[in-house]
């Protein structure tokens, strides 16, 4: 009893989740009820890339990057399971493992590790590379373990609800609360269900969307979140006296299609309180992007994206994330070879937050094949 009390709450929670959720993945197909459905998807991509920088040789890189994302979903009468495992050159993670309960006609309550709803790109495409037109993500939408500034993975409770009106317009609302990533030597690190470590604090997030027609994909909305990010004792930041970061974000976003055009845009306001001995260093900045896509025909799509930030050079928080993309211009073309196969060419000119508070520039060319099975 004493031993259990002395364990950190995040470790107890992860063990409870693992013991409840992992056996669900072992349900044999033959035992499933007749009114249930399940699906298994395998998103595969292979990317060849070449990045070069005249400012910082550390940014020079080239090679091949294969990635596989496995998604399993199960839906019963009132019960759902979702698992997503992602494997790439740089990571090998159980990205999502959630069990859901249909609490009302249009409401599902999930328990587990999920992609928190306060980011647009990660909740739109998750790790399904084929689903996004571009190869790269905007810097502000990067996964937190790839240098992104907003926590993406939270372990706890997520509620998703949809309200459909008589005229077929609708609203979507998602609320979540749980354990936030912590700042470790590698950057922001979410709780790993398969190898849980202590030291995670809390996060709360929301997404609100208005959809003029639920049969279409058009939507506009608000996103936000609050995260209490603990700083691991092994990091340089901890030696410098930083104990925690309290981050608040608020974003507006739009994803709109008409005729042959599609526009995706999001602007996020950051407020980061860095807790130092006897003082709090508060920094605020803006970061956003606008992506335009034009379908030449059903197989060919041209795309371009501009990303920019404001006041980011004063942010002490961003100095902890040297990979954060402050500015980027992206141009490319996607060819859908078949319904589930695409080939994409992308050129980019990128600036990252440099150690001297300036910007390091780099250029990259990428070629990617992506698909999904079955």
């Amino acid at each position: 009893m004493t031993a259990i009390r002395s364990r950190p709450p995040d470790r107890i929670m992860s063990r409870v989740l693992a013991s409840v959720l992992l056996p669900l993945l072992l349900i044999p197909v033959g035992k499933l009820r007749a009114d249930s459905e399940q699906d298994f998807l395998l998103f595969v991509s292979l990317e060849a890339f070449d990045e070069s920088s005249s400012d910082n040789p550390k940014l020079d890189d080239s090679g091949f990057s294969p990635a596989v994302d496995m998604l399993y979903t199960f839906s019963g009468d009132r019960f759902r399971v979702l698992g997503e495992f992602f494997n790439s050159r740089d990571e090998n993670d159980l990205e999502r493992l959630q069990v859901g309960w249909q609490a009302g006609e249009q409401t599902v309550i999930w328990l587990g590790r999920f992609h928190q709803p306060g980011k647009y790109w990660s909740t739109e495409y998750h790790h399904g590379q084929l689903m996004q037109t571009t190869i790269s993500q905007p810097g502000v939408e990067q996964w937190e373990d790839d240098g992104g500034p907003i926590p993406s993975h939270v372990t706890g409770v997520l509620m998703e609800s949809e309200f459909v009106r008589d005229d077929s317009s609708g609203f979507e609302l998602a609320l979540s609360a749980g354990l936030a990533p912590k700042l470790a030597i590698e950057g922001l690190q979410p709780l790993d269900l398969l190898d849980p470590e202590s030291g995670h604090r809390t996060a709360a997030n929301f997404r609100f969307a208005y959809r003029p027609d639920i049969l279409s994909e058009n939507r506009v909305g608000l996103l936000g979140g609050w995260s209490d990010i603990n700083v691991d004792g092994d990091t340089q930041a901890a030696f410098d006296g930083l104990s925690a970061i309290k981050q608040t974000t608020l974003s507006v976003y739009a994803d709109w299609r008409w005729d042959k055009w599609r526009l995706i845009s999001s602007v996020t306001h950051f407020s980061n309180d860095l807790e130092l001995p006897g003082t709090t260093d508060t920094g605020r900045f803006l970061s956003g992007y606008l992506q335009a896509e034009y379908s030449i025909d059903s197989d060919w799509t041209l795309f371009a994206r501009i990303e920019n930030s404001d006041d980011e050079e004063k942010s002490a928080f961003l100095s902890l994330l040297p990979e954060f993309v402050t500015r980027q211009d992206v141009l490319g073309v996607r060819w859908d070879i078949a319904t589930k196969h695409s080939l994409t060419l992308e050129l980019s000119d990128t600036s990252v937050h440099a150690e001297d508070a300036g910007n390091d520039h780099s250029n990259a060319i990428r070629l990617q094949w992506s698909t999904v099975f079955p």
Binding site: E37, E105, E162, S298
Partner: protein
Amino acid sequence: MRVKLELGALFAIFLLSATTAWADRAVVLVVSTDSPIETLSALDVRKAYLGIAVRHGGQEIRALRLSNDPELDEIFLQSVVAMSEKSYTYRLLSNALRYGRPRPPEVRDLEALLNALSTNPYSIACVWQSDADRFPELEILRVLWQDY
């Protein structure tokens, strides 16, 4: 003159029979005869196939697809979901990624479809009217497409 009349009559008979045959070509929405579903609007049919939750008596309607007939598939895409194959495929993949909703089950043949419909009375399917007429265990809810 008589030959011309005979040819004209033959042509008229041919046209009449062809029209009757084409009029039989219709795609219908069916449920099992045990199903409590008595009616379903075209909008709800479209929602169900797009993976949007449609409920009847508190139960979610399960949309099934026959996957062995390219012509039926084409009509389904044009007249039921009003999307290209690519857009429909991406919409269903997106539902799985975003909301954890599995893609609507595809069944290989009519026998498997009949079995699936009778197992879950809240299931719906799109089939040729001629097939629906052959099986008394199927009830037609509405005509989705007809070739006039």
